[in-house]
Amino acid sequence: MRYSIFSLARNALSRHEHWPLAWRSPEPKRSYEAIVVGGGGHGLATAYYLAKEHEINNVAVLEKGWLGGGNTGRNTTIVRSNYHLDPNAHFYEFSLKLWETLSQELNFNVMYSARGVLNLVHSPADMDAAIRRGNAMCLNGIDAKFLSRDQIAAWIPELDTSSSARFPIVGGLLQPRGGTVRHDAVAWGYARAADACGVDIIQNCEVTGIRLDGGAVSGVDTTRGFISTRKLGIAVAGNSSRLAAMAGIRLPIESHVLQAMVSEPIKPVLDTVVTSGVVHFYISQSDKGELVMGGDLDFYNSYAQRGNLPALEHVVAACLALFPSFGRLRQLRSWGGIMDMTMDGSPIIAKLPVDGLTMTGGWCYGGFKATPASGWLHAYTMARGEPHRLNAAFTLERFAEGRMIDESGTGPKAWAH
């Protein structure tokens, strides 16, 4: 049943008792042409584009828990393509273009809200870097604007734009097309669309081993038995290292916990996404009214999906330094997610050194916005056995070759990106 205002009205008459399942919950088959591990946005998108773009419909997505329960379901929902380095810029811009039409493509409202992403700039040196990045964006055909402090003060009066601030705001780089997307809707929308293409989405099915046959993938062991396949795609975010290890591969990745939180819901106070690299903070207001915010990692390897107070307190302190009027608002809930931090801060969307094995991962803080492009390119790479132009740079081998894509220039310290 297509979703629309008409189907909604029709179903209202029958008290919504006839809505079909958004996706089936099939028993796993013994074999699939392709298997994607991970029922997050990236895995589900991979499966969807395998079916949609490459006519590979005999696909299973194996998810150890409930679909969308990983980072897809716990991120701060910011989408943007305001990158400096070419490979990132082209990749994320491709993703942003896919977001623009995704609700229609999936027939599921993912609420891409192009409300703008404003990066605050706090010093002359910061300004140089921001303008350089903005210029790179423009030359790459991506929208960017530089706002003066006065323009920002007029637009977002809640921001402390005074010069007495600890890190005074001197301007900001705005990407007008940046914004937010409803996180859960992305998982559900892709799941429903993939399911409609015949993809089997199998929840509560953990991959516990990868079987190889003569250097090539032959299948996976799962908590629901062995399933054979010759094309295996890994899309498990914070668990990338564990899956790769099942095929004997070590990755340039560490798993770290990143916390986020929401305030109690309030009437609209903030109409755009505001971020600051200097105080390590980002914030937006959800459609339900909560302020959704986050900042830095907790800075230690973790698979625990829970963090500690110091990191949270610092996020809040940064929030109040920028928005002094938010002090009387309350934090409603905080949580953590496991980030797959790479050694250069950029992802790996590539074939791995085992035939039939690919991965999309290494997302660090920023993989939600990559979801459509990652799925699209991962599907391409799985189907064709070779990368597309847009993910050609995101190889695993780039580190050995010295072709790091190090946007922040931090170097091989995973948690510092």
């Binding site: 290292s241 560490e254 390897n301 698979y303 580190f399």
Partner: protein
């Protein structure tokens, strides 16, 4: 909030420390092949479970220490000086 047992100062709050990552990495000799250096600099076991890691007691005695911590639970299982083995050897 982690409570980290410094082998010298005693148990102290996480905020006194700076993280230093995987403690099991072995720095190759300078003339080792570039592959060995690539592995040392970039590749990580990234275990889900006990993880031997380095911390600097940066606001304390300014010594680096080894900590074995379970990355699933954040339980701290042991700590040691960098030149000492953690109890039970390598994980």
């Amino acid at each position: 909030m982690l409570l980290i047992p410094c082998p010298w100062c005693g148990s102290r709050n996480q905020v006194e420390f700076t993280y230093g990552g995987d403690a099991t990495l072995k720095r190759p000799p300078p003339d080792a092949p570039v592959e060995a250096w690539y592995e040392f600099v970039y590749l990580r076991d990234n275990p889900c479970g006990p993880h031997d890691e380095l911390w600097l007691h940066s606001a304390g005695c300014r010594r680096w220490l080894k900590v074995r911590r379970d990355t699933r639970t954040h339980d701290i299982l042991a700590s040691a000086r960098p030149d000492q083995a953690l109890p039970g050897g390598e994980p």
